[in-house]
């Protein structure tokens, strides 16, 4: 169902859905001191067969290989084997083609959501991205149907997501610069404004004023965060490929990569609504019904300093996490990162606050956050 269709139905039924914040305020947040959001609106959209947590709720495959990095370079071949082994284990299939066809048809337009926000030293690696693309191609999916995306196109370029490295594949971001380095077109309009879909938004009762330098990175101010057209119009399915990083005493993995990577005007959401945003934005149909696979690049990651890049805290986890359930995958990744933080004496104990966003996401039926209910399969290749 398209959003426009849903709005029409809602109006007829008197649900009162509209873009007006005055009549679309949510009630889900248990903490009354938190700004309200429009999460209730998201929950009214009927779920589809593709809705999160996808085909394998609560199932996570962890693939380890201590030789994934050789001479400080990630081995594309080893990573390819790791992802392939994980896909076969997740799906129970005997070959890669069948494994990928559990999720994709040959005509699906597939978006690979990467995370280059910390720069070249701590980005979703080119190697894992190439490995996934190789496997998609081996499954019969044409390169022309594959797209690599994130918020900031120029950050993707900086990290090597360019046509030279990915010939025949579109690389695109919501926030864009032209070759002269300007965020604005000849009419003075932000390129990013053309890339947001005002039919889909996350509304939250909080806002922040951005200065002239910041607004190109936010695209818009106010109480609305609009979904990117890349997600709403240019892809049918998404493979989410975050990198294994901490965010303070929590993690920035599947849910965070989706939530903060898919919408505009995120600056206002960090302070008061970090956990809520991580959980609630993926509950909206453009993400909930399109993200069919999560593959965490844990070959190289960090256990402190994240989500930025502080080389003191980089480490080679030599692992890949795969699942359809982003909450369960995040929960396993969380344990890996927090254990490392405790081992390295960055923190002394786990703090339940760090898991709150996963618990919220679980309440929204996006996946399983209870570690006791997660089916983790660990394999070595």
């Amino acid at each position: 169902m398209k959003r426009r269709d849903f709005v029409k139905i809602s109006a007829v039924c008197g649900l009162g859905l509209s873009v007006s914040p005055a009549i679309s305020q949510p009630t889900l947040a248990s903490d009354d001191t938190k700004p309200k959001t429009n999460i209730e609106e998201a929950l009214k959209y009927p779920r589809t067969q593709n809705s999160l947590p996808g085909k394998y709720p609560g199932k996570v495959v962890r693939v380890n290989n201590p030789k994934a990095i050789v001479d400080e370079k990630i081995s594309e071949d080893v990573v390819y084997q790791m992802v392939a082994a994980g896909m076969l284990s997740l799906t129970g299939e005997k070959n890669i083609k069948n494994a990928y066809h559990k999720f994709f048809s040959d005509t699906d337009r597939i978006g690979l959501k990467v995370n280059p926000v910390a720069g070249p030293s701590l980005s979703t690696s080119l190697e894992i991205t190439k490995a996934i693309i190789r496997q998609l191609e081996e499954s019969g999916i044409s390169r022309k149907n594959i797209l690599i995306w994130d918020r900031r196109e120029f950050e993707m370029h900086e990290c090597g997501f360019i046509s030279d490295n990915f010939p025949g594949i579109t690389v695109i971001g919501t926030e864009q610069k032209d070759p002269s380095g300007s965020f604005y077109d000849k009419d003075g309009k932000l390129y990013g404004e053309n890339m947001i879909d005002k039919d889909w938004f996350y509304w939250a009762d909080t806002e922040e004023k951005y200065d002239a330098e910041t607004i190109p990175y936010m695209v818009n101010e106010g109480r609305y965060s609009y979904f990117s057209k890349i997600l709403t119009q240019m892809v049918d399915k998404v493979i989410n490929i975050p990198i294994l990083k901490n965010a303070g005493a929590s993690v920035t993995l599947c849910l965070k990569n989706l939530a903060y990577g898919a919408v505009s005007n995120t600056g206002r959401l960090h302070k008061q609504l970090w956990a809520e945003t991580c959980a609630e934005v993926p509950a909206f149909p453009p993400l909930r019904d399109k993200v069919v696979l999560n593959i965490v690049d844990g070959i190289k990651g960090c256990f402190d300093g994240g989500p930025g890049a502080n080389p003191n805290f980089f480490c080679n986890f030599n692992t890949v996490l795969i699942g359809t359930d982003p909450v369960a995958v995040d929960r396993i990744g969380y344990d890996i990162v927090i254990k490392k933080r405790i081992d390295e004496k960055i923190q002394q104990t786990d703090n339940p606050r760090g898991r709150r966003f996963m618990e919220l996401a679980s309440k929204l039926s996006l996946g399983i956050s209870d570690i006791e209910k997660i089916n983790l399969k660990t394999i070595s290749v």
Partner: protein, 283 residues
């Protein structure tokens, strides 16, 4: 009356911002340079900006250099004061070693050299961790210090004791809830409802656990609400089981937490710390 030497922020040196000039470096080309204010830092480092803003941030001088064939990223964070710079430095360095030929607090790892001078926190990051790149980073550091000057940070007097000398590189300074959530989760509950505080926290490893000593200073807030009552600082000193809480002044508190000592040596060490706290005098 028991008290404490508080030299916290005793110097208010705020080194003037200078644009960076790398022209004297051999084979050096500036690839990119930019300055980010507190309003625009978000565009540069995204959500990571919030932590710098919480500590108190003025401007970031960012430069990407090509020196010989190496790419080096230089970030000079000009914080709002020396405490803010120390705070960011304290939570940013890890498993690194000081270079003796740099005249300020510094820490070098293979890929990064970090410096603290006055209200500047400086990070110099190289790409491949070679010895040559580390030498380049050292040259850059010296050049930057020529421009911004050398200024040392003075720690609170509480920590000026032999008991702590081997552990001071682990001393952290937190100025808000974000920093506490990042690195001192056990302290978060204390400060959830308060603002304008400095928390110096030193975690000393024991054989099977830790001893944590925290100095809390409610800055410009002589009467920090119900904090003393809520957390047992109103009757000082309060030596509960495995905890020691003392109110040094209406706005300054010390909290010591530890587990059962595993050895007689550890027990003695803990006792000496508590004695040290008992005997602090105003100076």
């Amino acid at each position: 009356m028991r008290s404490l030497i508080l030299i916290v922020g005793s110097f208010l040196l705020s080194i003037t911002s200078l644009s960076q000039d790398f022209s004297s470096l051999k084979n050096c080309k500036v690839l990119r340079s930019a300055e980010f204010s507190k309003e625009s830092l978000w565009g540069h480092i995204n959500g990571g900006a919030d932590l710098y803003l919480e500590y108190g941030f003025n401007i970031l001088h960012f430069t990407e250099l090509r020196v010989d064939s190496f790419t080096i990223r230089v970030e000079d964070y000009e914080m709002s004061d020396s405490e803010s710079a120390f705070g960011i430095y304290s939570i940013s360095h890890f498993k690194c070693s000081p270079l003796s030929d740099i005249p300020v607090e510094n820490c070098q790892s293979r890929y990064q050299l970090q410096l603290l001078s006055g209200n500047h926190y400086i990070s110099i990051v190289n790409s491949s961790g070679t010895v040559h790149e580390q030498q380049i980073a050292l040259s850059i550091a010296k050049l930057l210090l020529e421009n911004i000057g050398v200024a040392h940070f003075t720690l609170p007097g509480l920590f000026n004791h032999n008991l702590f000398k081997d552990h001071l590189r682990n001393l952290k300074l937190y100025k808000g809830i974000l920093a506490l959530q990042n690195a001192a989760t056990s302290l978060v509950d204390y400060f959830q409802n308060y603002q304008n505080y400095l928390v110096y926290s030193l975690s000393i490893p024991l054989s099977q656990s830790y001893l944590n000593i925290s100095l809390v200073n409610f800055v410009n807030n002589p009467s920090p609400g119900d904090f003393p009552v809520a957390y047992g600082f109103d009757t000082s000193p309060d030596e509960s089981f495995m905890q020691y809480r003392v109110k040094i002044s209406p706005s300054v508190f010390v909290l010591v937490e530890y587990d059962e000592p595993a050895t007689l040596e550890e027990e003695s060490f803990i006792k000496n710390i508590l004695v040290h706290l008992e005997t602090l005098e105003i100076q």
